[in-house]
């Protein structure tokens, strides 16, 4: 139901979240992301949501929580690949105001590394 695949590029963790993010899978996502972020040499995170098929308000908490974690280490969180449905959830919850949304990975990496 939910798959998380990650790799790093410099001090940025690139995470692809695939499947459906609801209350049931949010716990899995939270645990996986937090264990990846235990590596303190990672500063930023970019989430690829192009294979995320469903998300409800339980997912909002997952992204806000990781955003706070990264902020504590002066890092940033960016996202790309949002479909219309997921974009709508991000907009009504105000997530798009704290997490920058990009069109693709390259733009995300450029955007996140800008000061």
């Amino acid at each position: 139901m939910l798959d998380i695949i990650s790799h790093r590029q410099g001090d940025t963790l690139i995470v692809s979240i695939k499947g459906e993010l609801d209350h049931h899978t949010a716990e899995i996502a939270r645990d996986r992301l937090d264990s990846l972020l235990e590596d303190k040499s990672l500063k930023n995170m970019v989430v690829d949501l192009s294979h995320l098929k469903f998300m409800d308000s339980s997912g909002i908490g997952v992204f806000i929580g990781r955003y706070k974690k990264l902020s504590e280490r002066m890092g940033k969180l960016g996202a790309y690949g949002l479909n219309n449905h997921i974009r709508k959830i991000w907009e009504i919850s105000g997530l798009h105001r704290i997490i920058d949304i990009y069109d693709n990975l390259e733009e995300s990496l450029n955007g996140i590394q800008e000061v």
Binding site: D22, H23, D56, S57, S58, I60, G61, H85, I92
Partner: protein
């Protein structure tokens, strides 16, 4: 509005059933020939109401969540019913960002999502008895009557 079809579903308040519930309602609504966007809206709203029953209504003792789906000419009525702990102040609960469980990283946006994605919502609740969330979604170009099979 004249009800043309109806379904009832009951399942245990386990988080594994959130996906099951929204897929069932979406499959039922498919009879109205909705767009992909309308289907996504219905799925999301059902997911919110069912999740609330599971984590808020039955947080102490598990119980059954009931869904009643009714189709009418140009839309669907979905009722999500629990017999859990109930809501003390519905108006406060429906405020954006209000959550009684911030420690679980809840966003307090569930009701706001339901309101945004559906056309009508009504919440009836009483403490110790349970909650009923009734939502209506109009399907813009529903044309199943022109396509008898």
């Amino acid at each position: 509005m004249k009800i043309t079809n109806e379904m009832r579903l009951e399942f245990l308040s386990k988080s594994q059933n959130e996906a099951f519930a929204r897929v069932v309602v979406a499959a039922f609504a498919a009879q109205l020939d909705p767009t992909l966007e309308e289907i996504a809206d219905i799925k999301t709203a059902v997911s919110e109401a069912v999740t609330n029953a599971i984590i808020h209504a039955y947080d102490q003792n598990p119980g059954y969540v009931e869904i009643i789906g009714q189709l009418f000419d140009n839309g669907i009525i979905v009722q999500v019913i629990d017999r859990g702990k109930g809501i003390k102040d519905v108006k406060e609960a429906m405020q954006p960002l209000y959550t009684s469980k911030p420690e679980l990283e809840r966003s307090g946006m569930g009701f706001t999502v339901m309101e945004t994605f559906m056309d009508e919502i009504e919440v009836i609740s009483s403490l110790g008895e349970g909650t009923k969330v009734t939502m209506v979604k109009y399907i813009k170009n529903s044309n199943r009557t022109e396509k008898p099979r």
